[in-house]
Point group: C2
Chain length 243, copies 2
DNA sequence: GACTTTTAAATGTCAGACAAATAAAAATTT
DNA sequence: AAATTTTTATTTGTCTGACATTTAAAAGTC
């Protein structure tokens, strides 16, 4: 943990960076206890509030956790896949909402990623995951289902597909992308889409996964992508000429 | 921006959450100025240091930026793709180093993702991107190249492939994954690998992209994955029986 | 009108204090 | 001696008040 300063940034940012480097480099390992705030302020020659601002920055990234009391302090946090998920979902969601990403672009990315894990999922999906997908398809067919619940079920369905690849790294990367983009898509295609058609494609996917046929899963995902794109275009068209 | 408290977390965490919600929900739009720290401490009925800790949390996630001076303050930040990249790289790197992810798993995920954008890249790669890849291949063939420089060149090469898909969302998702995993892979396969073989496969990929032949790109990536996996197993084997 | 100076507002930083939680040590009781 | 209770020390959480620094606008000057 060096005291090397960096450009003319906030002291708290510099200190946060120094500690982050120490964590990334392995100088501070998981569950290691950082020096107390008083000691850190001594080491870095800054006041305690400044040290605290630095620690809050790290806490916001789930890099450390803090505990009060006699044996308390700040500890290097083991970054869990779940923490990483939720961070990625927040980041992706904001990225999409703030940067005027076209629907086509987002949709293309989402299905490209999902198709990447389809072959693995066809090989490895468990009976449980298949059952989850079937259950969600059943739920989607219920007449009284609200649009929100249909969307949530859609996310769960695709999440099960992704998890079927049995690769936590892939799940982490994809679930974030899918969950961030699904609401965006649902928002746009809410009004126009036909639940029957979507359910039919979901069923094709589930059937193909059951048969462990990667090609059919891929084809069905391509069809689903095209259908979604078509919907978006129809909606845009309708807005232009509302009559 | 509500004052609704949440469980028994830090006040600064609660406040950060409240402001984050306001940003995500669109209540605070990009470039909107937050109330001053004094006003926020009035609104939330806490002291200024507590407000500041909350703001630092948000700053750590690139959700806000601050400016000093008369017309200064905290402003909602437009989350750029670059910001999102660097955050994802940090997160992914730590996730891998802290969770004992097997080499096979990381490798599989990395190539699955890269293969997802290969077809798009074959369609859309620009002459520039192709030139970048050729240049990196040339660099990789230089005899005096250090291992570190070879790795960096490798990352640049694959980054160009990913960018060839011309989809910023895909680039964001994949570049993060590739950059986070590449060092891990290089670390393991440093000693054993043959630069000639890797260069040969890179050349195949570049040739196929030039010819816009997605299938050959895919095959070459599969081969590269298998080669990398084989290397890792050889290295592990050698460690077990060092004689 | 152009330039300089002043001023006000905002963040950045500091110092010192107290509250609250927590575990270990000490004291007390059984 | 063992169990329980009390005390104590340590550490984070929070507050108050102050000063430094930066910055743009307002005021003043030529």
């Amino acid at each position: 943990m060096k005291t090397a300063p960096r450009k003319t940034a906030d002291l708290s940012a510099q200190i946060a960076h120094a500690i982050r480097d120490a964590i990334v480099s392995g100088e501070l390992i998981v569950d290691a206890r950082l020096p107390s705030e008083a000691e850190l302020s001594e080491q870095f020659q800054v006041s305690r509030p400044t040290v605290r601002e630095a620690l809050k920055r790290l806490a916001a990234q789930s890099l450390i956790r803090t505990q009060r009391g006699a044996t308390g302090g700040a500890f290097v946090n083991r970054l869990s896949f779940e923490d990483a998920y939720s961070q990625q979902i927040t980041t992706s969601t904001l990225l999409l909402s703030m940067n005027a990403v076209s629907f086509d672009t987002a949709c293309e990315a989402r299905y490209a990623l999902e198709r990447a894990c389809a072959p693995l999922s066809a090989q490895r999906r468990t009976a449980d995951q298949l059952a989850t997908m079937r259950a969600e398809i059943f739920r989607q067919a219920q007449p009284g289902l609200t649009d929100e619940a249909f969307c949530a079920s859609d996310v769960t369905f695709h999440r099960a597909l992704v998890d079927g690849a049995d690769n936590p790294v892939l799940s982490y990367q994809l679930a974030g992308a899918v969950e961030a983009m699904q609401p965006l898509m649902n928002m746009i295609t809410f009004t126009a889409r036909s639940r029957e058609e979507i359910i039919a494609m979901h069923t094709r996917i589930a059937d193909a996964l059951e048969a462990r046929d990667a090609d059919i899963v891929d084809t069905a995902l391509v069809d689903l992508e095209h259908y979604t794109q078509q919907l978006a275009h129809d909606v845009a068209e309708r807005k232009r000429k509302p009559a």
